[in-house]
Every structure is written in structure tokens, then in C-alpha cells.
């Protein structure tokens, strides 16, 4: 009647075996990501850049807003990057330590990118999922609003806002928050349209779950893959966006700085032979953007079933 001991053990072993072999969607995605060498290297680079922005300040020999008057005007000879003076990246035109400033600039640029991506994830996903789930007239109106907002030249409106309400980092964040979610809303909506006809959503509707709960518990978790991919690809775009405004001198203001402001300063002084002022910020800018794009591409290959 009863199966003998060894059979039971066999079944248990088989179950354990099956557990090892069966991989979740995320596990297989991770494996695919790990196979992509460019993406893995980029991820490591990104971690290093973030570490530089977070802990670089501890290694700086000089405060970032300390003006060394003895260097002023003689920057091309005395401000050269060197380990002996403690100015690893040299000094800028006002005799400030470029290493400490690059650390801060990288930090602010990363923060801008991440804040933009977070707003996009929170607002964009919720907005897009709501529009896609309800469909019909609600969808039409909500997406028309996105269309209208998208065809506004936001760079110009944001500069207008920065001029009117004062140039501050907070204003910059508000401006970036206002535009970053638009694309994400479209993507989330498109994905929701395919998900909402699946059986598990039908079951939820049939058992009388509240629509908001369906969106939050059943739809959004299934959007996460694509959302993560686009959020990663959004970060470099937001960094470029902020750097653009800071390059014009309208974004982050002194004594604070961002990579765009540093590049602008370096570009303005390169004819005096202080090339390091341009090259160090440029290096970190290009490195960060590159790494984010590669990680995003890697994530897309790993998570987006369409491109597989």
C-alpha cells in the first residue's frame, strides 16, 4: 500500500533536484546579464564611480571651496596635477582643488540622474498602468495629456523656470521630475495593455478586487522588468540633461558644481594650457554615461523578452 522508504526518498530528491534546476525569471535574467561582459564591466565601473563620488572626499587633501590665492593666475604652471601638492587633478582658475570639485560634481550628476529615474519609476509607472488598465476614455485623456506635455520644448521652459524662481538644485530637480516620467508612462501603458488581458488579472477582477489593488499588486510587479530597463537608460539622459543646463551656467550654482559646470569651465579655459580642467570632468562624465548605457543594454537583453 504505502510506497517504500527508498521511493519516498527518491521523490524527495527529485523534488529537490527540480528545485535546483527550475530557475525563476529573475535568476535566468541574472545569468543572462552575467554572460554579457560589457554590462558586467560597466556595472563594476559604475560602482567604482559611485564609490568615488561617495568616498572620494576623504582622500582629498583640500577643501573643495578653498581658494588658494598663491596659485591664482599662475595656474598653468603651478596648478598642474601632481601627488606632491595634493592636487591630484590639479587646480582650477580660482586655485581650487579640482579633485574635490570633481568628486562633488560626479556626486551631484549621479544624484540628478537617480532622482530623475526615481520620479519616472514612481509617477510614470503608476500613471501609465492606470491609463492602460482603465482604457477607453480615461486612457484617451490621460495619454493626450502626455502627448501635449511631450511636445512642449521643456529645456526652454525649464530654463525659463530657473530664471524666474531662482537657480537652485531643488528647482532643477523639480524640472527634471516634471519631464522624466513621460516616456515611462507610455512604456508602462503599452505593457499594461498586454498584461491586463491575462488570466490572473481576470481572476482578480472576478473575485472583486479593487482596481487600485489590481494595479498595485498584479499589474505593476509584472511591469518591473521593463521599468528597470528604461529607468537605467533614463539615468544617463537625465545626467546629460542636467549637464546641458549647467554647461550654460544656468543649473547648479557656485560654490556647488556638477560635471556639466566643470566641463564648461574647463572648456572655457583650455586655451591657457590647463587642459586637465577639461579632461578630468569629461573623463568622469563619459565614463558614467557609457557605463549606464551598457548596463541598461545588458539589462534589456536580460529582461526584455522581445529583444531576446
Amino acid at each position: 500500500m504505502f510506497p517504500n522508504r527508498t521511493t519516498v526518498e527518491d521523490i524527495e530528491n527529485a523534488a529537490a533536484l527540480a528545485e535546483v534546476q527550475g530557475r525563476s525569471l529573475w535568476a535566468s535574467a541574472r545569468a543572462r546579464f552575467m554572460r554579457n561582459k560589457a554590462a558586467v564591466v560597466s556595472l563594476i565601473v559604475l560602482i567604482l564611480v559611485a564609490a568615488f563620488a561617495l568616498f572620494g572626499g576623504f582622500f582629498a587633501q583640500w577643501e573643495r571651496d578653498f581658494v588658494d590665492f598663491s596659485l591664482m593666475g599662475r595656474n598653468a604652471h603651478l596648478g598642474v596635477p601632481s601627488f606632491e601638492t595634493g592636487h591630484y587633478f590639479g587646480t582650477d582658475n580660482s586655485g581650487r582643488d579640482l579633485f574635490a570639485r570633481t568628486v562633488q560634481g560626479t556626486g551631484i550628476s549621479l544624484m540628478v540622474g537617480i532622482v530623475g529615474a526615481m520620479v519616472a519609476v514612481l509617477v510614470g509607472t503608476l500613471y501609465g498602468a492606470t491609463a492602460g488598465y482603465f482604457g477607453g476614455r480615461v486612457d484617451g485623456i490621460m495619454m493626450r495629456i502626455v502627448d501635449v506635455l511631450m511636445s512642449i520644448p521643456f529645456m526652454f521652459v525649464l530654463i525659463l523656470m530657473l530664471v524666474i524662481f531662482g537657480r537652485s538644485i531643488l528647482m532643477l530637480f523639480i524640472g527634471i521630475g516634471l519631464i522624466s516620467w513621460l516616456d515611462m508612462a507610455r512604456i508602462a501603458r503599452g505593457q499594461t495593455l498586454t498584461i491586463k488581458n491575462k488570466e490572473f488579472v481576470e481572476v482578480a477582477v472576478a473575485t472583486g478586487v479593487h482596481p487600485l489593488r489590481i494595479i498595485l499588486r498584479h499589474i505593476i510587479p509584472n511591469l518591473l522588468g521593463i521599468v528597470v530597463v528604461y529607468a537605467t537608460l533614463l539615468v544617463p539622459n537625465m545626467i546629460i540633461f542636467e549637464s546641458f543646463i549647467s554647461f550654460l551656467g544656468l543649473g547648479v550654482q557656485e560654490p556647488n558644481t556638477s560635471l556639466g559646470a566643470l566641463i564648461s569651465e574647463g572648456a572655457g579655459t583650455m586655451q591657457y594650457g590647463t587642459l586637465w580642467q577639461l579632461l578630468f570632468p569629461l573623463f568622469f562624465f563619459v565614463l558614467t554615461i557609457f557605463a549606464f548605457f551598457f548596463v541598461g543594454d545588458g539589462l534589456r537583453d536580460a529582461l526584455d523578452p522581445k529583444d531576446r
Binding site: S151, I152, P153, V157, I164, F244, F285
Partner: protein, 307 residues
């Protein structure tokens, strides 16, 4: 088709109106007027100036006057800082410059991008393909404000081949660097989009049929594959155009080309709101018009689009 155009216009017009109202309300909400300077003006003088620019009128009168001026006469009002010039004068001076190098950037980015993308797709996995892919990956990280200093460094400071800035009536040595700086990253994106969509089209049955019939490859590409392959690109051209117009701000600031960007940034620093608003609305109108044209083109080329 006609009803489609009308429907798209019905979205475009309110969008434009929202933009005008938005920028006007922003300006209205600004703390401090454009005439609040370090040295306060005598009250009578201030009142006179405000009356001249219509700043003493109530909000509704001002906004309706402004919108009427913009819509009916394309009149953006006087500049607050340049006493003898209107916003229209400033736009008339700067816009042709922006349009000139913007046009060439657009042409360069599209022609080179499409050619490179198509060539890469035809010769997939050849050195040409790797070159194109490498370029389109590398140039992603070179937006105009990164390209501009690099170009200036190499071609003006090191090689001394090109003038470092200025416009000089648009002579070609002055055009080269602005056009390249503005178009590089878009060229890369266009090449990438074109390559992937061309690859997709080349693997379809109707291309194989065309090839099986013995039609020369050149003809297959130009007559059969190009049209469907260019569709995904078309929807990118709208944003690319906007990006180039926006990027012109950096180009003007960096190369002193004297386009609208120069005036936009200068008025941003001197709080000359009416100039900023005028340029914002102009750019917005262009954006909306361009997107409209792209949409109509799209519907015209793609028979699958229902309109």
C-alpha cells in the same frame, strides 16, 4: 486623410495655447519685475515705464493682449532690456542663423546616419558593420556640449585649421564645427535605428521573393526595403529635430554663432522675460509643426496606419 490632419491639428493648437499660457503665467508669477534694479527707480519713472510696457494692466487684460498679439500678428511685444528693439527684431536677427546650421546638421545627421545604418545592415558582421556599431555606441556619450570643446581643442587650438567661433555670414569654415558638434549624437542614433530596422526588413519574405526573382540588390534595397525600413526612423526624426533646436543654445553660447540661443541665454541672465517667452513659444511652435509633419508623413507612407 483629411480628417486625420484635422484631428492632429486639433491637438496641436491647444498644445500651443497651453505653452503660451504656461510661459505667460510663469512670467507673471515671477517675483520682482524686470525693472527692479539695484538702484531703485523713482516711483513716477517706474509707473511710466510700467505703463509703456502695459505692466500696470490687470492680469486678464495682459494675457489676452499677449495671446492676441502672438496669434494675430506674430507680435511678441517689446524687449524689456533692449530699449529700441522688439522681440520680433531679435528673433529676425538670430533665427536665420540657427535655421542655417540647424538645417545642415539635420541633413548631415539624416543622410550619414541612414547611409551608414543601411550599409551596416547589408554587410552585417563585416568591418563596416563593426565600424558603424562602434560609432553609434561611442557617439551616444558625445552630446553637443562635449563635442564642441573637443572639436575646438583639436581643430582650432592644436591644428589651427578652423576659426574658433563667430558666424561671418555663414561661410563654410564657420559652419563646420557647429554642424558636426550638433549632429554627431543624432547621427549615431539614426544609424543605430536604421541598422536594426533594415536588418529586420531584409529578413522578411517579400525581400527574399524580390531577390529570388533576380532583381539586383541595389534595386531591392532602394525600391523595396527602404520604405518600410525608414518608418521607425521617421518617428525619431521629430525628437531629433527638437534636440537640435535645443542644442543650438549650447552651439550659440560656445561658438558665438549669434543664433537665437545667444539671445536666449543672454536674456536668461538679464531676466529679459519677453525675449525668453518669445523664443520659447517660437521653438514650441516649430516643435509642434514638425511633429505634425512627421505624423502626416508617417500616415502617408505606412498603409497600415488607420486614420
Amino acid at each position: 486623410m483629411f480628417s486625420f490632419v484635422v484631428r492632429r491639428l486639433m491637438v496641436a493648437v491647444p498644445t500651443l495655447l497651453i505653452l503660451v499660457i504656461l510661459s505667460f503665467v510663469l512670467m507673471y508669477a515671477a517675483p520682482g519685475g524686470p525693472f527692479n534694479s539695484e538702484r531703485p527707480l523713482p516711483p513716477e519713472v517706474l509707473a511710466n515705464i510700467q505703463a509703456k510696457y502695459g505692466l500696470d494692466q490687470p492680469f486678464w487684460k495682459r494675457i489676452t493682449d499677449y495671446i492676441w498679439g502672438v496669434v494675430a500678428h506674430f507680435d511678441f511685444g517689446p524687449s524689456f532690456k533692449f530699449k529700441d528693439r522688439s522681440v520680433n527684431d531679435i528673433i529676425a536677427q538670430g533665427f536665420p542663423v540657427t535655421l542655417t546650421y540647424g538645417f545642415w546638421s539635420f541633413v548631415l545627421a539624416t543622410v550619414v546616419g541612414v547611409t551608414l545604418g543601411t550599409a551596416a545592415a547589408i554587410k552585417q558582421n563585416s568591418w563596416l558593420d563593426y565600424l558603424a556599431v562602434g560609432f553609434s555606441v561611442g557617439a551616444q556619450v558625445l552630446p553637443n556640449f562635449v563635442m564642441a570643446p573637443i572639436l575646438l581643442l583639436v581643430f582650432t587650438l592644436w591644428l589651427g585649421w578652423l576659426p574658433g567661433g563667430g558666424w561671418n555670414g555663414g561661410e563654410w569654415p564657420y559652419l563646420i564645427m557647429p554642424v558636426i558638434a550638433l549632429s554627431t549624437s543624432y547621427m549615431a542614433s539614426i544609424a543605430r535605428i536604421m541598422r536594426s530596422s533594415m536588418l529586420e526588413v531584409l529578413n522578411t519574405n517579400f525581400i527574399r521573393t524580390a531577390q529570388a526573382k533576380g532583381i539586383p540588390m541595389r534595386r531591392v534595397i532602394l525600391r523595396h526595403a527602404m520604405k518600410p525600413a525608414i518608418l521607425p526612423l521617421l518617428s525619431y526624426l521629430g525628437p531629433a529635430f527638437v534636440g537640435m533646436i535645443t542644442g543650438s543654445v549650447v552651439i550659440d553660447a560656445f561658438f558665438s554663432t549669434g543664433g537665437i540661443g545667444t539671445f536666449f541665454v543672454n536674456s536668461a541672465f538679464s531676466r529679459d522675460y519677453s525675449v525668453m517667452m518669445g523664443i520659447t513659444i517660437l521653438v514650441g511652435t516649430l516643435t509642434i509643426l514638425f511633429n505634425l509633419v512627421v505624423d502626416i508623413l508617417y500616415a502617408w507612407i505606412d498603409p497600415k496606419i488607420r486614420y
